[in-house]
């Protein structure tokens, strides 16, 4: 039987997956919402099926329609991409029960890791340090205050099923906790359907370091080094780099081993990412594991030379990894800038609309993962990611210079973007030195305001 993959996503990641499938000689089926009929992934896939109306709930989150599309087109594998249904336990379970394959770990593993409380317990069981916290959901404000007093402020209040920067609050005082608890819970309920919250110690100005994992069905689990994703706005990453300028070789190996240990302990399969916070003294804390391909996976691909999406698909079709841990070498430095349709000068207000003119950079070591084109209308319904500009160079300094030129040559006319902000960050001394942490963007935006 011919191999055929349904790509249950949109935007640049759908195109990224379509490319990998085509390179492997596999058939591709795209799904799309009514708002996305002119989207590039629809044009590039072998077949495309409309799965519903513009809002994600009716289309990209519409499990029944997506399963029907897969069955109707004769697909045997579903790649969920990132976001949408990629970490949805129920979706993975239904896919499995329909005798289709889900690109990712089993629904059971997704369930365990998707619940952040359970995930922390898994890490703890294999002696990987975690951030101190509530060891479970917090019932009410009083219980929250008690725990907070025990571990000390500042604390983080987080939704159990949260992600993407929503359902999360930093709390500095008891009075603030009392005020924010209910608000955060309702935000969690609105966004994730569950209002359960948990508490953890807030580590001030840590670096956000994540380790890429690949695991096949034959017990081979390897890591592909780390990515530094400390440049974030409201916990959403905007610039990532690999390797981290902060991590020394010894810590790199330790983090890699810790990530592999966690993955192996739960029988993790396919690609995944183990996220850590690393404080200024090099202490590391497990925070969560993402059971999907990450937006920022290309930088790891650039420095290791390993096509992660290709490996994901091969693993799903029961191939074994043909790389061993010893063969994974980190070459040079890769940077990724996310180009979003948003206005950084207006509180990052989204800026959908018509792209009148598009000019993309290029040249040696420049990679662009994007789904936009001239006269493409960016719909207002989905996330604002337009393109990922990825550069790869022998040294970090060269990569930064390459990125500056790439951003200078990137023109997206018609809508507002964060290109200029990214260009400025590429010149910021703290970024250039590599001494930034997760508080970077807030400080940077203040600096910009001052100099206006």
């Amino acid at each position: 039987m011919a191999n055929k993959v349904l790509i249950a996503n949109r935007g640049e990641i759908a195109i990224r997956i379509i490319r990998a499938c085509k390179e492997l000689g596999y058939g591709t089926v795209a799904i799309y919402s009514k708002a996305d009929k002119d989207s590039l992934h629809v044009q590039f896939a072998d077949e495309a099926i409309c799965v519903g109306d513009a809002p994600s709930n009716s289309s990209y989150l519409n499990i029944n329609n997506i399963i029907s599309a897969a069955i109707a087109t004769g697909c045997n594998v579903i790649h969920p991409g990132y976001g949408f249904l990629s970490e949805n336990e129920r979706f993975a379970e239904i896919v499995e029960k329909c005798n289709l394959r889900f690109i990712g770990p089993t629904s059971e593993v997704i369930g365990k890791l998707g619940n952040k409380v359970k995930a922390r317990m898994i890490a703890k069981s294999v002696n990987v340090p975690i951030v101190e916290g509530s060891n479970g959901t917090v019932e009410n404000t009083n219980a929250a205050v008690q725990i907070a007093n025990k571990i000390g402020y500042p604390i983080l209040l987080k939704a159990v099923n949260g992600g993407g920067g929503k359902g999360i609050s930093v709390i500095n005082t008891e009075s603030q906790l009392k005020k924010e608890f209910v608000r955060t819970a309702s935000e969690a309920e609105a966004n994730f359907g569950v209002k359960d919250l948990y508490i953890e110690k807030y580590i001030e100005n840590p670096r956000h370091i994540e380790v890429q994992i690949l695991a096949d069905h034959f017990g081979n689990t390897i890591h592909l080094g780390e990515r530094d994703c400390s440049i974030q706005k409201r916990n959403q990453k905007i610039i990532e780099e690999s390797p981290s300028p902060f991590i020394k070789e010894r810590l790199r190996r330790t983090l890699g081993r810790a990530a592999v240990k966690i993955a192996k302990s739960i029988g993790y399969k396919n690609a995944g990412t183990v996220e850590f916070l690393v404080d200024k003294d090099g202490n590391y804390y497990f925070i969560e594991m993402n059971t999907r391909i990450q937006v920022e996976h290309p930088i790891t691909e650039m420095v290791t030379g390993i096509d992660i999406v290709r490996e994901q698909i091969r693993i799903a079709y029961d191939h074994n990894l043909n790389i061993t841990q010893d063969q994974v070498k980190i070459n040079g430095c890769a940077l990724e800038c996310r180009i979003n349709a948003e206005n950084p000068e207006n509180n990052f207000r989204p800026s959908p609309g018509l792209i009148k003119n598009l000019v993309l950079p290029g040249g040696h070591g420049v990679r662009i993962d994007s789904h936009i084109y001239n006269n493409y209308e960016v719909p207002p319904y989905y996330d604002s990611l337009l393109a990922k500009i990825i550069v790869h160079a022998p040294t970090r300094r060269e990569a930064i210079r390459k990125m500056r030129v790439a951003l200078e040559h990137l023109i997206i006319d018609g809508i507002e973007t964060n290109i200029e902000m990214q260009y400025l960050i590429m010149h910021n001394p703290s970024f250039v030195r590599g001494t930034y942490d997760t508080s970077f963007l807030v400080k940077f935006l203040e600096l910009v305001r001052e100099f206006r």
């Binding site: 003119n357 200078e408 023109i411 006319d413 200029e420 260009y423 400025l424 010149h427």
Partner: protein
């Protein structure tokens, strides 16, 4: 042009200014004389390129003046030239003021002993006697030394049954030697006549400029007179003629093209095709290669 390119450029420039990174780079100093400006079209030509193109402008086909040595190099076969009569030099028979100094200066400048270089060589294997006037040496003027060298070359050609090829470029008779210079006109003409009477071929190439006593003697006594493109050919200067006859001169007066039209020269050729033309003339007139 789309305005967003301009907008982006301005922003990047402004940012660079703010960072103080808009330093002007040190200008690279190009060695003098690397590029040569064309006198006619004012384009700059890389010197090496101009040389490989025989000093003809790539853009407008303007023919730069070339010295006698270079002319010989591009005319005869490689390594076939043997110089003759190089020992004949000028004296200052009339004690003309500063004449010796002037000769001395030109000798140093051009590294030649006189304004005429001659010898024997081969054109695609055909033996010929060749002489070239050098316009860089006192404007190729003919004094007794030049006249003697020209005559000696003609007599050598007559003696050895060689066809004769002379490239002229001259302001005329050399005034510093007065009547002695003018006498060279008769002497060279007589020698040409003997060469002619022996049934030998004489080709004269008039290059820029060929005027005065040279134009009025051996240069125009050839069996075939070829003008190089862009050459000025005439006897007296244009200003002199204009004042003497009190009339405006015709369009393109004294140009090679003008002289063709008036029947004063036989054909016009550009530098690049000159050797080929000479070779064909020699072959047409029955000159054979010596085994």
């Amino acid at each position: 042009m789309n305005k967003f390119f301009e907008e982006r450029k301005i922003k990047v420039e402004t940012f660079r200014d703010i960072r103080g990174r808009n330093k002007q780079p040190n200008k690279v100093a190009i060695p003098d004389g690397l590029f040569i400006k064309c006198d006619k079209c004012n384009e700059y030509i890389f010197g090496e390129d101009l040389k490989t193109n025989n000093y003809v402008c790539h853009h407008c086909n303007f023919h730069f003046r070339i010295n006698a040595r270079f002319r010989i190099n591009i005319t005869v076969d490689e390594d076939s030239f043997t110089e003759l009569f190089s020992g004949i030099k000028s004296t200052n028979p009339l004690d003309f003021p500063d004449y010796d100094k002037k000769i001395d200066k030109y000798q140093k400048e051009t590294d030649e002993s006189e304004a005429f270089i001659c010898g024997v060589g081969k054109i695609n294997g055909i033996d010929i006697a060749i002489g070239v006037l050098d316009s860089f040496f006192m404007m190729g003027s003919m004094g007794s030394a030049v006249g003697e060298k020209v005559t000696s070359l003609i007599e050598y050609a007559t003696l050895h049954n060689l066809p004769l090829l002379i490239f002229s470029a001259s302001g005329g008779a050399r005034m510093q030697e007065g009547i002695l210079s003018l006498m060279q006109m008769a002497k060279t003409s007589a020698a040409i006549n003997k060469h002619h009477n022996n049934g030998l071929l004489y080709l004269s190439v008039l290059t820029h400029p060929t005027t005065g006593g040279v134009a009025a003697s051996f240069a125009t006594l050839a069996d075939i007179i070829i003008a190089e493109k862009g050459a000025l050919i005439g006897f007296a200067g244009q200003r002199v003629i204009k004042q003497a006859i009190q009339q405006d001169l015709p369009h393109q007066f004294q140009t090679a093209e003008f002289q063709i039209e008036k029947g004063f020269v036989d054909t016009l050729c550009d530098r690049i095709n000159l050797k080929d033309l000479i070779y064909r003339m020699l072959r047409i007139h029955g000159v054979k290669k010596n085994a």
